[in-house]
């Protein structure tokens, strides 16, 4: 099955993210990107943390059929709208270094 353009996927993710992004003061926001091996996909979560309050984490996207080039393109497209930092989990060291090198910080 052909995949949607990374820009289109990024737009959907940003639209979902926008419903949770409240721009509260003294709050750290970031996106967690997880390789989920049982489904061979990437899960994306929008996280928020405030001092002396719970940390929140909302699912904002799933990218099926894990493909690192495609993920990098999606993350760079998200970066065009929001400059949140990315946290990578469950990636192999080589993949991790590519992500750190090729995804805009």
């Amino acid at each position: 099955m052909s995949k949607d353009q990374p820009q289109l996927v990024a737009k959907r993710i940003c639209d979902r993210l926008a419903t949770y992004f409240k721009q509260k003061s003294r709050t750290r926001y970031w996106i967690a990107v997880v390789y989920y091996s049982p489904d061979d996909c990437y899960n994306l979560f929008f996280n928020a943390r405030r001092p002396r309050s719970w940390q929140r984490s909302w699912p904002i996207g799933i990218i099926k059929e894990a493909d690192l080039d495609y993920l990098i393109a999606v993350l760079n497209a998200i970066h065009e709208r929001y400059h949140f930092s990315y946290e990578y989990r469950q990636f192999q060291p080589l993949e991790l270094s590519r992500l750190r090198r090729e995804v805009k910080p």
């Binding site: 997880v34 091996s37 899960n43 001092p51 940390q55 984490s57 996207g61 989990r89």
Partner: protein, 434 residues
Amino acid sequence: MDYASEPRGVFLMIDNKSFYATVECTSRGLDPLTTPLVVMSEADNTGSGLILASSPAAKQLFKLHNVNRARDLPNDDRLLVVPPRMNLYIEKNLAINDIFSEFVAQDDLLPYSIDESILDLTHSWRLYGDNILAVVRRIQREVYQRLHLVTTIGIGNNPVQAKLALDIYAKHNPEFIGVITNQTARARIWAIKDLTSVWGINTRMAARLERLGIHTMWELAHADPYFLEEKLGKAGARLYATAWGVDHSSPAKSHRHKKKSESVGNSQVLPRDYHTKEEIELVISEITAQVASRLRAKQKQAGGVYLGIGYALGVVDDQGKTGFTHSQKLAADTADTRVLMAEVKALFERSWRGQPVRHVAVAATRLTKRYGEQLDLFATKADATAIDVENTVDAIRKRYGKTAIVRAASLKKGGTFIARSKLVGGHTGGQSLE
């Protein structure tokens, strides 16, 4: 008691450890045993929020348990709060049961709840290993490797032994495996001091047993079974058998004797107290329409209706009651939404005296097969057309989703149909994220 004549099957009761919370942790690449995560529903009718599940680490660190409220959560930034995704949990439950079905025949597997299943391995365990414990460990390993989920397993010679082994012993075992057999049933079951930790004994039943002078499983096992049955009915006999670890049921029998439902009902806790007749009747109409639609989907029609109303917190009526329930037999069996609505509304108007309402339950009862509508000499062509319209609405919703077509009244203040159509089991199903 002689166990020699008792069945000696190999039954497993398998539970997914803190299921929702574990699914949420693993999908985030986090370890549920070290990450304090809670799944919190923030649907309108949960007030500030209802905790549906807590990871083992959250339970340990913050002494949380399910059905805690948001107000019980400490303001601690180590705590990770996530929304529920009921559709994802259903998907994972199906995947888990697919793995189980590789070890048993379809009839020997009974999904018991969204996170528990009963497996009868009596006839199949030898295919997968030299001893039962090795097969059990293999099932655990398969689930962990393929889905990253931790399972807790109770083993017994019958389902009740497996369930008690799971609830009482497996959860405290480092391998998450507990065993009760015919040989160990007396020692392991009678050692249980807290009656409410036993399957089938809730706090009310425990209080009833305490009034009969029974405080432990040993005392339950040594009570007179006829006395128990006289005082507690069928539950008394069942509990006596549980105390001896005796159970003659099996998943295959449950499949064969699957009881057909005798009623179809829906209920909901409203997001706020409803005060006016119009608003309450609107919700009653919405729930009745949903019940009627489910009836038609099952090819059934109702011979009676039931209405349950719960008042707002702290409100009681003239008789000191916190709500009312009424049933009505219908003149003719029907699945016509309008007829059911009229009957349910009549029940409401007959008994409601202006109290604020927070809980509404509607059911269609006395079900029969739906071969066609009852002919009525005085029915107009419009009546026949109305049924066709309902069938068409059902077909549209089946194909395009529940909100593809809605009653205009659902847009009025107080309507809950549209908001609830996005929920699964009363909680957020989780939107498609692709």
